[in-house]
């Protein structure tokens, strides 16, 4: 029943345009090797070339093909979004359902803990953590999951509380169903819409955080990242004084914006906006 409404909601103009952008990015990420003949870390070309037939977006300061970096950057962003959001989803849902279903003091303490997490200004803490663990993509993913799960837990928990006292759950419990059975059959299915929302929201957060950390110089250099591209483009002094900003700075920024926008649109469509 719920799956149908999700599909219906996604059929709104917003949902369709969001999904279209998202799918094209996924296509780009998968098909990257076929769309460009350059590897993202191939430095055989001359540095700082203007766009030409060889290099659609020119080359950067060490002679890398910007276009292929852009394509492979989509991989990094999408991978981070996927892993972080699934991580948050799993941990958040488990914690949220557990807390909400159990209720009582344990619930109170857990939600307090979640509140604490939510209130800490996360970027300063992420900076400290990122420095401690040193920049690697897996560390960034780890940090984002650690800092993100409470959000998932909180929404799930609220919904679980509502369901816990709702008619059909009560009925099932009175009929003698075990806790596991109730959770599996009656609570989790009703959480699907919220889970999708969590995935969407966490993907947005993951993409923006990953590019932001890369911009601050805490990214993983082994993977091409849009944030790193922006960082290098801006720190190249001539980027604004020549036309280089058009093919070096803008594409990366526009890509982040579009990808995030696609998730935002999907998210809005799921919430029922047209």
């Amino acid at each position: 029943m719920h799956e149908i409404t999700v599909v219906q909601r996604l059929k709104s103009p917003k949902g369709i345009s969001g999904l279209a952008i998202l799918c094209s990015f996924i296509f780009i990420a998968i098909a990257a090797p076929f769309l460009t003949s350059y590897s993202p870390d191939d430095i055989s070309s001359r540095p700082l070339l203007e766009p030409n037939s060889e290099h659609l977006l020119g080359t950067d300061d060490v002679g890398r093909d910007i276009f292929s970096n852009l394509l492979y950057g989509a991989r990094t962003s999408l991978a981070v979004a996927l892993i972080v959001s699934s991580g948050v989803l799993i941990i958040g849902t488990l914690a949220g359902v557990f807390s909400g279903y159990t209720g009582g003091n344990l619930d109170r303490v857990m939600m307090r803990g979640v509140d604490i997490f939510l209130m800490i200004p996360d970027l300063p803490l992420i900076l400290i953590l990122a420095a401690y663990l040193r920049p690697s993509l897996w560390n960034i993913i780890f940090i984002l999951i650690v800092m993100g799960w409470p959000v998932g837990a909180r929404i799930t928990r609220a919904q679980t509380r509502t369901l816990r006292v709702s008619g059909h759950v009560d009925f099932a419990r009175i009929s003698g169903a075990g806790n596991w059975y109730v959770i599996k059959r009656h609570i989790v299915p009703d959480l699907y819409p919220i889970m999708i929302t969590t995935i969407v929201m966490q993907s947005i957060r993951a993409i923006l955080s990953e590019s932001g950390l890369a911009f601050l110089g805490l990214g993983d250099p082994s993977y091409p990242s849009w944030g790193t591209m922006i960082k290098y483009a801006i720190s190249y002094p001539l980027v604004f004084f020549t036309d280089a900003w058009m093919w070096w700075l803008m594409p990366a920024g526009v890509c982040i914006t579009l990808l995030v926008l696609s998730f935002v649109l999907v998210g809005q469509a799921l919430e029922g906006d047209k």
Binding site: D41, I43, P47, V62, A131, R134, P135, P221, L238
Partner: protein, 576 residues
């Protein structure tokens, strides 16, 4: 109730109130049009705050020392050619064995507060810095008081410094570095590393500190009109922080800044800039963990790695021509100590591969990575700090080493993490960048600590050259040291960065890079002598105008936004 209108007016009034709060009670309205103000910037560095400019509180890096040197004078100071001119000392001589240095001090010099400067201040400073070195990190890193045995004042204007042992670079590293502090101010200071009152910046120098603002990262100095070498050519010297130095130069927010070559290229004719360049004495090098890594301990492997790297290509990709490729002997070619007759490692993959094959790494695995005798792949971690140049070099090194079957994992970190891991010996390879210093005493003698390479023959030469007072004899010893360095490849100097400076032609001309650097080897255009012997070409203060205009324009925009917003609300209400 028009809620939105109320909130708008509330917002605007709060905005105005909050800005008024920042206005000091007495805003000065003096006529300052004839003032000669010169605004400089430290350019590309991440911070422009180099600490309070007193000899024991500045941040112990080159710029921190420069900021202090404006207020404080040393006994001698380098001119553009690197020759020493007297500041507080008028003349000096040393005994034949190089142990006793006699300085005849300038007479009639006063501190900024009017007290006379005497030989007692020199004696006090040397003893004080020697005694306080343990408290202040600066004391140990900048002032080489370890060579000094005793300091005596023969009379009010004669000082004799006795050394523990002959020290060839005494003038460059000690007499031209230690700033003389006023005894009458510092004698009662308990904790000099926290002493930052106005008096703490009183020296004899050409400028008097008027303001140091750690939040805005700015400094303001006014000219010391009674400076003994002559009145400075400007009235006010300002250092500010700017986020984009090229834009700031173009808009006139700053008059001068140090730049990279890329930034220099962003300037054009219409900007009316005088650009100078100089040797940077700044090296980017590949460091090996020689003591702990048995593979890298093998000189043949290091030589093979050297052969596999095209250093001039790396330079052209990272600095785009703003530097020169490294010299196997480590000493940059523009140094007077440079020895060209050392082993060379021209880019040659075949030789590199051959050497590695011969060294017993001929087997490769499926990824094309060489295997050692036990069958482990030849893979190393490459540590580097995440600034742009180091990162780019690391990526290029990774690519080059891949060609000869050596796998590299990139390990970026911030400078302190890299230093921490290298200090703990917890690394394989590292990209290091730092000033080389200009005197062999610092440039080469530190190799055991700075590369981990310990060679007794080399150290014997190092000891000897330090106490050799005869220049030619010393040069021979230094030449030999370079031969040893090139043969053993304790580190690979990839390239040396040049330094550039651009100055608005309407302000001060006459900037130069000091041969050998100032303050014991800081390569900078800020030799304070430029503000005495340079020329002032402007007529009035042109720094304020540009920004006043832009701020007026900015207010117009802000105002129009507010008006538009109000109009929006009114229209909405009118519709009903």
């Amino acid at each position: 109730m028009k809620l939105s209108e109320i909130s708008i007016s509330l917002f605007i009034s709060l905005l105005l109130v909050s800005t008024v709060l920042f206005v000091p009670a007495s805003a000065s309205g003096d006529d300052s049009s004839q003032e000669r103000v010169f605004t400089a910037s430290w350019g590309t560095s991440s911070t422009a705050d180099w600490g309070f400019p007193s000899p024991l509180t500045f941040y112990p890096r080159g710029p921190g020392y420069i900021m202090t040197s404006y207020c404080f004078d040393t006994l001698v100071w380098p001119e553009g050619s690197g020759e020493f001119t007297g500041l507080l000392a008028e003349s000096w001589e040393s005994s034949d064995d190089g142990l006793e240095w006699t300085f005849h001090l300038r007479e009639g010099v006063n501190w900024h507060d009017g007290e006379p400067f005497t030989a007692d201040d020199v004696v006090f400073t040397m003893d004080y810095i020697k005694g306080k070195a343990s408290i202040s990190p600066i004391g140990s890193s900048w002032y080489n008081t370890g060579v000094i045995n005793s300091v005596e004042a023969l009379d009010d204007h004669t000082v004799v410094i006795t050394l523990n042992y002959p020290y060839a670079p005494f003038m460059q590293q000690v007499a031209a570095v230690i700033p003389i502090m006023p005894e009458h101010i510092w004698e009662n200071v308990e904790d000099p590393s926290k002493y930052m009152e106005d008096e703490a910046a009183i020296g004899t120098g050409p400028f008097i500190l008027e303001d140091y603002d750690t939040d805005q990262q700015s400094y303001k100095y006014t000219a010391n009109k009674n400076y003994f070498l002559g009145e400075p050519i400007i009235d006010t010297l300002i250092y500010v922080k700017t986020s984009d130095v090229v834009i700031s130069l173009k808009t006139g927010e700053v008059d001068e800044s140090g730049l990279t070559l890329d930034q220099v290229q962003a300037l054009d004719e219409s900007d009316n800039m005088e650009v100078i360049s100089g040797p940077g004495y700044w090296v980017y090098r590949l460091r090996f963990n020689i003591p702990s890594n048995t593979i890298l301990n093998d000189t043949t492997v290091r030589q093979a790695i050297y052969y596999s790297m095209n250093c001039s290509d790396i330079e052209s990709r990272v600095l785009h021509g703003g530097g020169i490729e490294g010299n196997p002997g480590y000493v940059p070619p523009y140094s007077s100590w440079y020895n060209p007759d050392v082993a060379q490692y021209e880019y040659d993959i075949d030789t590199a591969n051959q050497m590695l094959d011969d060294a017993g790494y001929s087997e490769t695995n499926s990824d094309g990575v060489r295997l050692d005798a036990e069958g482990n792949p030849l893979e190393f971690q490459l540590l580097y700090s995440s600034d742009q140049q180091s990162q780019r070099i690391a990526e290029l090194v990774q690519t080059y080493l891949k060609e000869i079957g050596i796998g590299i994992t990139l390990k970026p970190g911030d400078t302190k993490t890299v230093d921490g891991l290298v200090g703990a010996g917890n690394f394989d390879l590292a990209i290091y960048s730092h000033g080389t210093s200009t005197d062999p005493a610092r440039m080469l003698n530190s190799f055991p600590t700075s590369t981990g390479w310990n060679n007794s023959e080399y150290m014997a030469l190092a000891e000897e050259q330090m106490s050799t007072m005869d220049e030619d004899k010393r040069k021979e010893l230094v030449d030999e040291m370079q031969v040893l360095v090139a043969d053993n490849v304790p580190t690979i100097p990839i390239m040396y960065r040049n330094v550039y400076s651009a100055t608005s032609k309407d302000t001060v001309t006459g900037f130069f890079y000091t041969d050998g650097g100032v303050g014991g080897g800081v390569p900078t255009e800020y030799n304070k002598l430029v503000f005495i012997y340079g020329t002032w070409n402007g007529d009035n203060d042109d720094t304020a105008e540009g920004t006043t205009e832009s701020s007026v324009a900015g207010i117009r925009i802000l105002g129009s936004v507010a008006i538009l917003a109000c109009a929006f609300v009114l229209i909405r209400h009118g519709k009903r």
